[in-house]
């Protein structure tokens, strides 16, 4: 099983090996190359929606994310420790 879903509530899975763009994995078309241990969206996620891993929120999507896309610092924002959001 190349994609690990840690908790049933999760909307991201963890790649258990490097996965090439175009691979079909557990019902999902992988839309880009994803490195080992990086996250992949298990479903479409809208901008502002929580990203759930380990059954808990780990941030929010900063843009719309499609199922099968990599989820990392380019499209997920932290909610905590955001001193840059102080007015």
């Amino acid at each position: 099983m190349p994609l690990l879903v840690i908790h049933p509530k999760d909307n991201v899975g963890v790649a258990l090996s490097n996965i090439e763009k175009g691979t079909h994995v557990q019902g999902i078309d992988i839309r880009e190359d994803v490195k080992f241990a990086y996250k992949i969206a298990l479903m479409d996620i809208r901008a502002g929606e929580e990203i759930i891993k380990y059954g808990e929120p780990i941030g929010v999507a900063s843009v719309d994310i499609k199922q099968g896309e990599m989820v990392h610092v380019h499209n997920i924002e932290s909610v905590r420790g955001r001193g840059d959001q102080n007015v």
């Binding site: 258990l16 241990a37 941030g59 989820v71 610092v73 932290s78 905590r80 955001r82």
Partner: protein, 386 residues
Amino acid sequence: MFKFKGYLRQDGTIGIRNFVVAVPASVCASPLVSKLANQVEGIVGMTHKNGCCQIGHDFERTNRALTRLCTHPNVGGVVFVALGCEGTPSEQIVEAIRTSGRPVRFIDIQKEGGSIAALVKAKAAAEALRKVVEEVTETREAEVEDLVVGLECGGSDATSGLASNPSIGWVTDELVKHGAKVILSETTELIGAEHVITKNVRDAEVKRKILEAVTRVEKDCMAQGVDIRGSQPTPGNIEGGLSTIEEKSMGCAYKSGSSPFIDYLDYGEAVRKPGLSFMDTPGQDVESMTGMAAGGATVFLFSTGRGSPVGFPIVPTIKITGNEKTFLRMRDDIDIDASGVFRGEAIHEIGEKIYELIERVCQGTVTKSEANDYHEVSIYKNALTL
């Protein structure tokens, strides 16, 4: 359940090593300690950059850390070196070492007539001290319940929360079951996971203090006016697949296994109770190890995805990685490969390997970082230097 020959200290604590250490009162005495440790066989140096022009809680914290490191269960004797004019209360610390039943020698660089004369004196004192320590140190048969195990994460990547940390969590549960003391620290790495990791805490006061510590760290971080990301998670964490501090913290939390926190400790405060305690430290590896060592940790379990070679001079540090590439690339620095989790190995199988290595380390086997002498000390300092 295993037994080992432990070094018995006057206060009843048990060491798994009998180090003779050289410790500077301040940054200005550090170079001499460095030379002493390099030039005299069997002397372990604990250099640092604190000890002068500090103030308030910061000053007290440094003094407590120095005192407690000098009277640590793994330490049998001390050469304490002062410049002579620094803020650190050297006489008090030397007296505390003496009262703890440990042979101690004190060198004041200015009184000795400078660094060269002081080094000559220090070398003679260190060599004499080593012999005395061997003669006077008592031992007794010890067990798992005599251990104080510190848990550390450094250079995490996305494998940490899936392999190395859960394996450590299994060991935590075993250690707690057998009556050992275990310390988890790194307050920053509770941000985003604090409610999950304190869910089973029964003592309301302990829970309150932990949550307050997390709130405080986050507030201090926000006051910097920047996004925490890049500092925490670090660039290496990010390259390793961790995207946010919340994600990192959730992964880090696995080190606690299913054990609830039964006590809260300030930085460097002596551990009190069997079971899992939380100590307020930064997430930075060396500062957190220094705090837990000052708290009395006698062995460290150090989870590292990216590969950190750094151990602590007086606490044998077992390095565990869940990243197969890291293990193969940095074999000389890593003790345990936990990556088998990704190939179907059960968490408890890796946990058992770690537990078995703890036993061997207690019986004298050196860890990779011990063998490499790759150590650092850094006492957390958060007030201004004046």
